[in-house]
């Protein structure tokens, strides 16, 4: 993956099994979630995850634009995942590229799988994800932020949607890849879990994995998602318990 013409491959795994940032193979990067980080949105959340900084806002249920997308029996879920031009080392041309559109599509479908859309016919639930600083795993950080934002907006859902990427680094299955591991690793597998049902509503993969490695990756990802799930619930408790951060606490 992405290794064609690359200059130097960093040492991704030390002889004692430590990763490039000192983590164990099954260790998550540090994560901070702030529920209700914006003032205008119906719901919002800010996620700092390793060196990722991602903001999500939810508007709705509200009128559908464009009108012809309206569905008579349910709400539609629309998502726009966007990376800021300054979020990556080399400036990204602003605007919707094909990668962002694909990610937006799979994230919208993931959330439509857990939102009770039939309760809000003829409306739209709009999810906006802005990646301000990127360091691998931005779609997962976006899903985590958007999920907390949906809960903050009071949208009824089956469950929150924790997400994480598992990958293969120097031949080993590792949880929550950072940038160097993503660029020089052998596989990347982002997923989002519905903790209540144990099912995956977002799943992508690129690279090389045997059937056994896939199996191990899925199991490790589920464990990671369940740990993230606890952090998401805590962020919502912090926001809504008495004496918690004030309305619209800053990120």
């Amino acid at each position: 993956m992405g290794s064609v013409g690359a200059k130097e491959v960093p040492v991704l795994l030390s002889p004692d099994g430590k990763r490039i940032d000192g983590r164990q193979l099954d260790e998550l990067r540090s994560m901070r979630i702030v529920a209700g980080a914006l003032h205008q949105a119906d719901g919002s959340a800010f996620v700092e995850w390793g060196a990722n900084k991602v903001m999500a806002a939810v508007y709705g249920p509200r009128e559908v634009h464009p009108r012809h997308l309206q569905q008579n029996n349910k709400a539609i879920v629309q998502c726009k995942y966007n990376m800021a031009a300054f979020s990556v080392d080399e400036r990204k041309r602003p605007g919707l590229d094909r990668r962002s559109q694909e990610i937006s599509k799979v994230i919208a479908e993931a959330f439509e799988s857990v939102i009770f859309v039939e309760e809000f016919p003829r409306t739209s639930i709009d999810i906006y994800i802005e990646v301000l600083q990127a360091n691998a795993g931005t779609r997962c950080a976006g899903v985590v932020a958007a999920s907390v934002a949906l809960a903050d907006a009071g949208i009824p859902m089956v469950d929150l949607l924790p997400a994480v990427a598992v990958g293969k680094v120097a031949g080993q299955i590792a949880l929550d890849l950072k940038k160097e591991e993503d660029n020089f690793g052998e596989a990347d597998l982002p997923m989002a879990l519905v903790p209540q049902s144990g099912r995956l509503v977002l799943l992508q993969m690129e690279g090389h994995m045997t059937a056994e490695e896939l199996s191990k990756s899925l199991d490790l990802g589920v464990v990671g998602c369940r740990a993230i799930y606890e952090k998401m619930k805590q962020a919502l408790r912090d926001r809504y318990q008495l004496g918690g951060p004030a309305e619209g606490a800053s990120a």
Partner: protein, 260 residues
């Protein structure tokens, strides 16, 4: 409204059948529609193929041109895959900028070819930093009757396997040669219909389904790409057992791509 109601009735019927292990067109749960692939369908392309899966028809064309390598990969060629879901292929497709579903089909087919390293990009380079082959794989959907990803990936692989590097025409060698294809990725797509997970969804099954999962495999028993799409969910155990089914179907598709 009428369409919505008939679609609802049809979806319910498809789900009812699936509960008994049956499908609308009489297929078994793990059975493809008839798959054929015809290489060399378009003489103006450097490699091409027409793939059919039942009524679904997709043409892939490979074009090779000389260009400049990207500055960050001076020793590598360039490979781009694009899929067009043209309005003639389905009443629901409209002219205009690419719909997200077309972008998804493009990117999922591209991901399998790229991740499997089907083409050794370093071998496409003619002069480092200056001149390289640029390989365009264009997938043209002409009849969308379900399962575009598998049809598109079969057409693309077949077109690549039968492609010629037009070295003589571009004046970089005395004669043309075969495009070197190192690995052979193909995609296998499943959809959930209730508790049943069926392979090779028809158009109506895609509308009725509760989640779609595509698994790309190569000839060395690697999983090289996956994509979950549409509304619905799969358990990790589902995914593991579908990977086994994908290897089985993938091997058959690879034989068709090579042997055709």
């Amino acid at each position: 409204m009428t369409n919505e109601v008939t679609a609802e009735i049809l979806a319910t019927h498809i789900l009812d059948l699936a509960r008994e292990g049956r499908r609308l067109d009489g297929r078994a749960i793990d059975e493809y529609r008839k798959v054929t692939v015809e290489p060399g369908f378009v003489a103006s392309a450097d490699g091409s193929a027409l793939a059919r899966i039942g009524p679904t028809a997709v043409v892939a064309g490979v074009k090779l041109e000389l260009g400049k390598p990207f500055p960050d990969t001076p020793n590598a060629g360039v490979l781009t895959t694009n899929a067009e879901l043209v309005p003639l292929s389905n009443p629901t497709f409209e002219p205009g900028p690419p719909h997200p579903r077309a972008i998804e089909v493009s990117r999922v087919i591209d991901r399998a070819i790229r991740a499997a390293e089907a083409i050794d990009l370093t071998k496409l380079c003619v002069t480092p930093g200056e001149k390289t082959w640029v390989c365009y794989v264009d997938v043209h959907v002409i009849d969308h009757s379900g399962n575009l990803i598998d049809a598109g990936s079969l057409a693309a692989l077949t077109a690549l396997l039968h492609a010629t590097l037009p070295a003589k025409r571009f004046g970089v060698a005395e004669s043309d040669s075969r495009l070197d294809v190192r690995h052979k990725p193909v995609e296998t797509t499943f959809v959930r219909l209730g508790d049943a997970i069926v392979v090779d969804p028809s158009f109506d099954e895609e509308l009725a389904c509760q989640g779609r999962l595509t698994i790309a495999t190569d000839e060395a028993s690697n999983i090289v790409a996956m994509q979950k799409g549409l509304i619905g969910a799969f358990s990790p155990e589902d995914v593991k057992s579908l990977a086994e089914r994908a290897f089985h179907h993938g091997d058959r598709m690879r034989k068709l791509a090579e042997g055709a």
